[in-house]
Amino acid sequence: MSDQKTNSIAFVADGTIPPSPPPAGETGPVKWLRENLFSNAVNSALTIAALLVIYVILSKTLPWLLNGVWTTNSLAECREVLQGKTGACFSVLTERWNQLLYGFKYPGDQYWRPNLALVLLLVAIAPVLFFDLPRKLLAFTAIYPFLAFWLIWGGTILAPIVALLGFAAGAFVFQTYGKSSFAIGFFGAIVAAFAVWLIGGALIPDGASDNAMLQAVPSRDLGGFMLNLMLGVTCVSLSLPLGIALALGRQSDMPLIKWICVVFIEFVRGVPLITLLFVASVMLAYFFPPESTVDLFLRVVIMITMFSAAYIAEVIRGGLAALPKGQYEAADSLGLDYPQAMRLIILPQALKISIPGIVNVAVGLFKDTTLVSVISMFDLVGMIRGPILASTEWNGVYWELLGFAALLFFVVCYGISQYSQWLERRLATDHR
């Protein structure tokens, strides 16, 4: 066909060459295997070694998982069913399911309350996490903590209402007086809130909780994974604003504020969390009046919040330090005052930089809530170590229980991590 002349460089193609399929081994899985797993001798050896390791692991765990027994009433029965074969005894999960999730004292006919609180939590947290949602949903987020408190612990509805009114009064005072002077607004708000709480607290009749719409549940009775979730959500959402305040306070020009923040951060960060928890469970009682009702859950929340706020403050301080000085100067030169500059210019950028660090602290904090088992609160790990493993039926079922705990925590923490990556992508504006 070709009529090219070999002694001339001029060339004209005499038609389009039709596409033809590539030779075998250049496409699809064969090509992928060759390029990625068997590209040279070392790579091939590593691939084979890895396959061996995977085989060994799976050959031990798969029978254990697949032979798992789900329906017996004790470990002894499991062993009877298995008759010497390897196999997990997952019956402990089904049999103690409610205890693992809600603790062993929460009244069984009231499980719908924490469940509903959990579902509503997702609704309340959505507009905070996904800011494309309508802003009006934030109103529900604002009342959610009080609603959740009432749902989970029941009792008189007056208590959460008084608490909510206190916050509302504080916000109102701050809105009214905060414009002319930040200090008057801030301290006035605190005074107003405490006034409402004291007066409102005194007005609630003593027996109000006895015949309440929702049966009162003592706060110690909530346990299991629900306790971890509640502690985690409460402490993260409280420690974030506190951490921001501490980070800004540490940068303050006012020496008193600066030193209070520095001492707080350095002290709390320098102490193991477990010590703080022991302080909460044992020593704080000495500081409160003997008849005071400041319960253990609240004391633990205060301690964990302080602890993670100190860490978050340091993470945010890193974000603040990473901002060019020009951003502060540009905000100043446009006449923005300090609160405006912080809220509109500095914090949005500093928090964006700090997201990975904050998520790191939040994930760590959530897992650290299992430490409350040491001060004999029955969270998920506390339930496993205490009532379940100590029972005659399930003494010795370690792998199944702790594996289940690990799985629950992993699911939540992986979710947090995925969210933070989405958030970083969503907020990236500095390059295309």
């Binding site: 020009g326 540009a330 905000a331 006449g335 005052d337 964006k352 504006t429 500095d430």
Partner: protein
């Protein structure tokens, strides 16, 4: 010397200096620790003046104009801007800052906000302008600096020259009576310098009071009505541009001019 603007006829009809005093500096001194950066500065700027401040690096030019909106604190002397004295009173400082626009060497746009949001932020929060009005005004000034089509992009997507023009528009949205320029073209590629200088010339043609720290001597010659030369923290010489460039008096000025114009 730079001839970047030789192709442009400058309309001087509105460039009029009034008798009204815009800025008055009296016996101002400033130290960084024990280092005496600004020494006995006395300067009166009238409404409508276009002043170029030149000098070697480290001579205190930037520090001087940064003192005028209290980005730097002065320790001695008196600065009165637009009838308000700069003191430690935060209210006075905020008032002055909203009257005085500033353009920085590194633009300092807010990277997390769109161009339009950059321009409307201060009018909405400081001046309490309704959002719609602020946006209309922002678009007006963005058209003036010739980048209305970029309004919904983020600063990181724009070129340096475009960013600097946005920074100028952002300052103008506050309707300032005085504009300070702190080396506005020093961080730009040569081809982008022209677009920024053109914007500044237009501003001058409309009678804006301007203080520019710049190394663009072409701009000084064509637009300024006064050139101030600083060295080692003091004002060494000031004069009309023609006299300043053609007939410098002090040896230090002669040396400086020979170095920057010598090739």
């Amino acid at each position: 010397m730079s001839e970047l603007m030789s192709d442009r006829q400058i309309d001087r009809s509105k460039m009029q200096v009034s008798d009204e005093v815009a800025i008055e500096i009296n016996g101002m001194n400033k130290w960084y620790g024990s280092f005496h950066v600004l020494r006995d500065i006395n300067l009166t700027v009238n409404q409508g003046e276009r002043i170029v401040i030149a000098g070697p690096s480290g001579s205190g030019k930037s520090t001087l104009i940064r003192c005028l909106n209290a980005l730097e604190e002065h320790q001695q002397g008196k600065i009165v801007v637009d009838g308000t004295e700069l003191s430690n009173d935060l209210k006075n400082i905020d008032k002055i800052r909203s009257e005085v626009g500033m353009v920085f060497q590194h633009f300092n746009l807010f990277p997390h906000l769109t161009i339009l949001e950059n321009c409307t932020l201060a009018p909405i929060w400081v001046r309490k302008t309704p959002k719609k009005e602020a946006e209309e005004r922002a678009m007006h000034f963005l058209e003036k600096v010739k980048i209305p089509e970029q309004a919904h992009k983020y600063p990181g997507m724009l070129s340096g020259g475009q960013q600097q023009r946005v920074a100028i528009a952002r300052s103008l949205c506050m309707m300032p009576r005085i504009m300070l320029f702190d080396e506005p073209t020093s961080a730009l590629d040569p081809e982008m310098i022209k677009e920024v200088l053109d914007t500044m010339i237009e501003l001058a043609e409309e009678g804006m009071t301007m203080l520019c720290v710049t190394h663009e001597m072409g701009f000084a010659r064509q637009v300024a009505n006064r050139v101030i030369f600083m060295d080692a923290g003091q004002i060494v010489e000031q004069n009309e541009p023609e006299e300043f460039f053609n007939n410098p008096k002090s040896d230090r000025t002669k040396l400086f001019l020979s170095q920057i114009l010598g090739h």
